[in-house]
């Protein structure tokens, strides 16, 4: 048994033993969990993939004379931002697109530029063009503003993602006879391909399946800088069926994360365009798992072969909320490049980048080894598998349907 405090003492002295969530697998296989629990202090898990419920807020500073963006209309590089706060606070969502974007009018739309790309450019230090129109008041007389802003000049720039880091995700396929364009990529007809989206054995919530160490307040690697778990993510659904090792067999837990955008790096926040679907943001997240006991290291050593997920049809079942799985596969099978579905051999593709996840796990490991990154004690737990907390569908008002 170790405490986070004891682990931090070792980190400060520069003698903490840190391994990635990939390295720990072989280590536990070789030496056994009991010995590894004593020898290893921290396991670094990571993921890098599209996370649509990402965004950033900014306080741009007051203009002379003052303007009240709250209640007005505001864009950054033509991408609409939410201005419904006080005078100069704005929120930019990753999936927002310019009003001039043709969307899916000519199908499939290309969605070349949107919120995710603006966040990437801001982090990269580029100037972005802010245009606002609003109403005047006695205290905020100005009605129009057009300027460029730069991350180094504005007050706060904070990444705030309300759902990231999914604990497991569906494998998407297309059973219809037409090509379909989804957030899981292009799916060819008649089971032409199967796309998945997880780092599997490197993914943070799969390596701490019961949220024993990850909680509200956990300090993490976020977009190349330091962030924190702010809350459980939206649609957090910890009660899905789990395998014996504890890993959920379908999308389950999620995290809401927050961090100072000013320290982050453009390499780890990348705007992406999903053909026929829209714009989103690739986010890099790394989570340190403190090795408190034999059980935590056992969980952290869960490997691709043990992590199962469901194959879901995105031509009919997903869009119409018909809960039906075409079968279960593990990530070792997915990573082999081919899986069998309904007797057919289907090639697989990943939306999430395993090499980038590995790079993040290595980077976080080096920060901890150098004593630059200390672990935090969670201040509140995430709703767990026994909590009864679950995701609900929308209750629509039938009289308005």
């Amino acid at each position: 048994m170790k405490t986070i405090k004891e682990i931090n003492e070792k980190i400060k002295k520069g003698n903490a033993v840190v391994v990635t969530a990939e390295e720990v697998i072989e280590l536990v296989q070789k030496k056994g969990a009991k010995i590894c629990a004593q020898e290893v202090d921290v396991v670094t898990a990571a993921t890098f993939g599209p996370m649509c419920s990402s965004g950033a807020y900014f306080n741009i500073g007051h203009s002379k004379p003052r303007i009240k963006l709250g209640g007005g209309i505001c864009t950054l590089n033509d991408v609409p931002v939410y201005a419904g706060f006080a005078a100069v606070d704005i929120f930019l969502g990753a999936t927002a697109v310019p009003d001039s974007d043709p969307l899916n009018k000519v199908f499939p739309g290309e969605f070349k530029y949107g919120g995710g790309h603006v966040i990437h450019e801001i982090v990269a230090g580029h100037d972005v063009r802010l245009v606002a129109t609003t109403y005047g008041t006695d205290c905020y007389p100005r009605k129009k503003l057009e300027t460029t802003i730069n991350i180094k000049d504005i007050n706060e720039a904070v990444l705030f993602n309300i759902r990231n880091c999914y604990q497991n995700y569906n494998v998407a396929v297309n059973l219809s006879d037409k090509i379909i364009y989804t957030y899981m990529g292009v799916l060819k007809p008649n089971l032409g391909n199967a796309n998945y989206c997880s780092a599997g054995q490197l993914s943070p919530l799969l390596k701490d399946p019961y949220y024993k160490t990850i909680g509200v307040g956990s300090k993490i690697f976020l977009g190349g800088g330091i962030g924190f778990v702010a809350w459980h993510g939206t649609q957090h659904n910890p009660i899905v069926p789990r395998k014996e090792c504890g890993v959920p067999q379908a999308p389950a837990g999620t995290l809401a994360v927050i961090g100072d955008l000013k320290q982050m790096k453009a390499d780890w926040l990348v705007g992406v365009s999903m053909l026929g679907y829209g714009v989103t943001l690739n986010v890099g997240i790394g989570v340190p798992i403190p090795v408190l006991d034999e059980q935590t290291i056992k969980y952290s050593a869960i490997k691709d072969e043990e992590i199962y997920t469901q194959i879901v049809d995105y031509s009919k079942n997903y869009p119409h909320c018909i809960p039906d799985s075409l079968g279960e596969v593990n990530y070792a099978q997915l990573k082999s490049g081919k899986i069998k579905i309904l007797g057919k051999e289907v090639p697989t593709g990943n939306i999430s980048s395993y090499p980038k996840a590995k790079e993040i796990a290595e980077e976080l490991k080096s920060w901890i080894k150098k004593g630059e990154f200390l672990l935090t004690e969670p201040v509140a737990p995430l709703p767990g598998a026994e909590s009864g907390y679950t995701v609900k569908p929308l209750k629509e008002n039938p009289s308005l349907a």
């Binding site: 599209p50 391909n193 690739n282 490049g337 939306i351 980048s353």
Partner: protein, 135 residues
Amino acid sequence: MISKRIVLHFPHRLVDQPIVYKLVKEFDLQFNILKAYVTPQEEGLMVLELSGEEKNFNKGIEYLQSCGVRIQPLSQDVIRNEAKCTDCGVCVPICPTGALLVDPLTRKVHFYDNKCIACELCVKICPTRAMEVHF
């Protein structure tokens, strides 16, 4: 016998000439059209896999050039922007010729431009738009 994938750029004045026909008739070359289009008032573009005896192949190329057709090897036209690629691998099952493959050890995506037929399926489906075509 040699076989190469080449890109032919036809100037506006040549787009109504049966030039490829002559490659077969006079130089005994085989061709497989991988892509072709004519832009109104501009130029024609054709991606061919051209095969035949080396001597005939070279004569055929000389003939094309003498007509005013500009020729480039295909591999120069489809490139991967390494700075943009995140090695996710969503392109891999979409590529019809296996020109994009995941290294089973590193999980990095490799682009084998000699297998590419410039179908451009990867270009629009790449989330970071890392695949670029420069015809």
